[in-house]
């Protein structure tokens, strides 16, 4: 073949020279252009990346390399007499593949975030060791006790009375709906009337909520069943696994992006997270109203609870509370939830 002109870079040195590459029967020879002196010869070499607009370098075992002056020169194609560029190169420069990527990438990202990751999370959650899940409850409650929550001011007798009522209701539920729960009461100035469930089944009621719905035991029962629904469907853990998996995925895929685009993606995925948690709230609502009907009670208890909590929350900054812990994150609007409960009641009446 014809000698190829280019630049030869000496091993472990910044020295270089204009040179010519000659390949004869597996022997590669590089001669300095100025005086035809041989600066490298041998049989072993590897090729650098095949990238658009760049010459493909020849690398030699001692660390020296040769760059052809002709940017489009590709040794493999000359030697093998084929258009055999590397697969990556062919894909990256193929117009059809590029177009396909433009269409598929958003579609796949959407599918992964909306379907793939949630499914993965649901599949992974049962594999989490129960001891670890127990530890979540214990540690989270401990942390909350040190920050947002104070010991309950309700009498031990009253606590026991509510606990017994609710656990009895749980016993009366069909087998498939029963879950093991640990009911706790706390005084919470900052949270106001509220209740939340931790992954392993710890359900916390604030004194404020119990006092607010004191005269409406069915409403309190509805709240309890809503939280039991979260436990039954393992919402906390699912959301946790899902958000972690999604973060890892985006970090792996878009690691080369700079701050701006990364933050945009982050914002997008956290908005999606809120969407999922709203779905979970609806699922827990559904659980609560279904079980109320199972127990032969009306869904009005649920509606009463929603209305009372909404009125009480109107005065305070609900947003700041939601930031505190993921278990309390974004809910559907209460009017939406009340409508759902009413619809359910009507369906049951027919």
């Amino acid at each position: 073949m014809q000698p190829v002109t280019g630049t030869f870079y000496f091993a472990a040195s910044s020295q270089c020279c204009a040179a010519q590459l000659q390949i004869t029967k597996d022997l590669v020879q590089i001669c300095q252009s100025a005086d035809q002196q041989v600066v490298w010869q041998g049989t072993e070499f590897s090729q650098g990346a095949d990238l658009p607009g760049l010459a493909q370098e020849l690398r030699f075992s001692d660390g020296s390399y040769f760059i052809p002056a002709d940017l489009s020169f590709r040794l493999s194609r000359r030697l093998l007499a084929t258009q055999n560029a590397s697969l990556a190169t062919r894909l990256e420069q193929h117009k059809g593949v590029i177009l396909l990527s433009v269409l598929l990438v958003p579609l796949l990202l959407w599918w992964l975030t909306m379907v793939g990751m949630p499914k993965l999370a649901v599949a992974l959650v049962p594999w989490l060791p129960p001891a670890a899940v127990q530890a979540v409850d214990k540690q989270t409650l401990q942390l909350l006790d040190q920050t947002l929550l104070d010991p309950s001011k309700l009498s031990a007798q009253e606590q026991q009375q509510w606990r017994q009522q609710w656990l009895q209701a749980m016993q009366d539920l069909p087998e498939s709906a029963r879950v093991k729960v640990d009911i706790q009461f706390r005084h919470a100035e900052k949270l106001g009337p509220n209740a939340f469930a931790l992954p392993a089944g710890t359900v916390v009621f604030t004194d404020q909520l119990v006092q607010l719905l004191h005269d409406k035991p069915d409403a309190l029962l509805a709240v309890f069943l809503h939280e039991a629904g979260h436990v039954r469907h393992q919402h906390g853990l699912t959301l946790l696994v899902q958000s972690t998996a999604t973060t890892v995925m985006f970090a792996m895929l878009f690691s080369d992006l700079e701050g701006l685009t990364e933050t945009l993606l982050g914002t997008g995925s956290s908005l999606l997270q809120n969407n999922f948690s709203r779905q979970m709230e609806s699922q827990a609502d559904d659980f609560a109203t279904s079980q109320l009907l199972q127990l032969g009670k009306a869904t009005t208890g649920f509606i009463d609870a929603m209305q009372a909590i909404r009125q009480a929350a109107a005065g305070q900054d609900a947003q700041s509370i939601e930031n505190w812990t993921r278990y309390l994150s974004s809910h559907p609007t209460s009017s939406e939830r009340i409508e759902q409960a009413k619809a359910k009641q009507q369906a049951a009446a027919r």
Partner: protein
């Protein structure tokens, strides 16, 4: 050899030549993302290497291109370690919030070490004329400059921050070595304060502009209540990002120019940067708009535009001595050192 005959050769000056093209990089970028998704993220290591090789290969000083030497396996190893660490931290913070506090404190001490490892790796994998860059920054200085001083500057109401940033740049760039020489950085504190002040003025100006627009569009406080209209969150976030990027562009232009002009590689090279502040601001602004309008697809074009702009406004003067360097790192490395390097040389970061 012809290079040895140039004893009396003159210093050579020239702009950095960047020849990358948006259309080429777009293909590389989008196809690599597709391949990364299809391989569950594994291919992202190959994607990173190809992207780096593309940008390095298209960046030439004095007629010689940079080379990126890292192999995909090194990148993959580092990424898997980083993912593992991330998972460990998220498991800890979520399962054991109390243990997590201790872990967070421990992480503060590991962080400078990780940063050093990452900078060192990236420089070692950067080669110019077959000589690799190196990084000699130590842990103690990293701890002070990356962690301690930024933390302490909070107590000065961030008044000391420009000085802290100057120290940080000085630490990073003043410990980079090439061909046995270490970069010398003679930046001045007053330049950092000037840049910060300019950025602050631009920031205030942009916020003022935003308020004028809001008033003109007759937004009132109740309408824009986030709780009443959660959808407002998205445009607000965008506005915030735009503010950050544009303010950052002003700061970056001023500091980059100053940093380059105040930095030399003794006996080997000196630098000049004259990025016009307004130009970088406008390019950043149009990039931002393009990326937002195209839902991210314009990213490769934006990146090429910025790279070209920065290259066009950077001049490097190369001394003849640079033609005769030995690669210190290559000379030092024995077979054992290579093995050890193989174990620890991983880019321990996701970026």
């Amino acid at each position: 050899m012809d290079t040895q005959t140039n004893h009396a050769a003159q210093a050579r000056s020239g702009r950095i030549n960047f020849s990358g093209r948006g259309s080429e990089f777009f293909g590389i970028w989008i196809v690599n993302i597709l391949l990364s998704i299809l391989t569950l993220g594994i291919y992202s290591a190959w994607a990173k290497v190809r992207t780096m090789q593309y940008f390095y290969g298209h960046t030439q000083i004095d007629g010689h291109a940079f080379r990126y030497l890292a192999t995909p396996m090194q990148i993959l190893k580092g990424r898997l370690l980083a993912v593992g660490l991330f998972l460990l931290i998220s498991v800890l913070t979520n399962l054991f919030p109390l243990v997590a506090i201790i872990a967070a404190i421990a992480f503060l001490f590991i962080m400078p070490w990780l940063l050093i490892m990452s900078v060192r790796f990236n420089l070692r994998m950067t080669s110019y004329r077959n000589v690799r860059f190196g990084f000699q920054g130590g842990y103690g200085d990293a701890m002070i400059n990356f962690m301690l001083l930024p933390f302490l500057s909070m107590f000065t109401l961030y008044l000391a921050l420009p000085w802290v940033l100057k120290r940080l740049d000085q630490y990073v760039f003043g410990h980079i070595s090439y061909g046995g020489k270490t970069f010398v950085v003679n930046t001045s504190t007053s330049s950092y304060y000037r840049a910060a002040l300019m950025a602050l003025l631009v920031c205030v100006g942009l916020v003022g502009l935003a308020i004028v627009i809001a008033v003109a569009l007759q937004f009132n406080a109740q309408d824009s209540d986030l709780k009443a209209a959660p959808w407002l969150f998205a445009p607000l976030m965008l506005a915030y990002l735009a503010l950050l990027t544009l303010t950052g562009a002003v700061y970056q232009a001023i500091i980059r120019n100053h940093l380059f002009n105040a930095t030399t590689l003794p006996e080997l090279a000196s630098f000049k940067s004259d990025v016009p502040v307004l130009k970088l601001f406008l390019v950043s602004l149009t990039n931002l708009l393009l990326i937002a309008v195209s839902l991210g697809l314009a990213y490769p074009f934006a990146k090429i535009r910025i790279s070209r702009l920065l290259a066009e406004h950077t001049e490097v003067t190369v001394q003849p001595a640079l033609d005769q360097l030995r690669d210190q790192l290559a000379a030092e490395s024995s077979a054992f050192a290579d093995d050890a390097a193989g174990l620890y040389d991983a880019d321990f970061s996701l970026t």
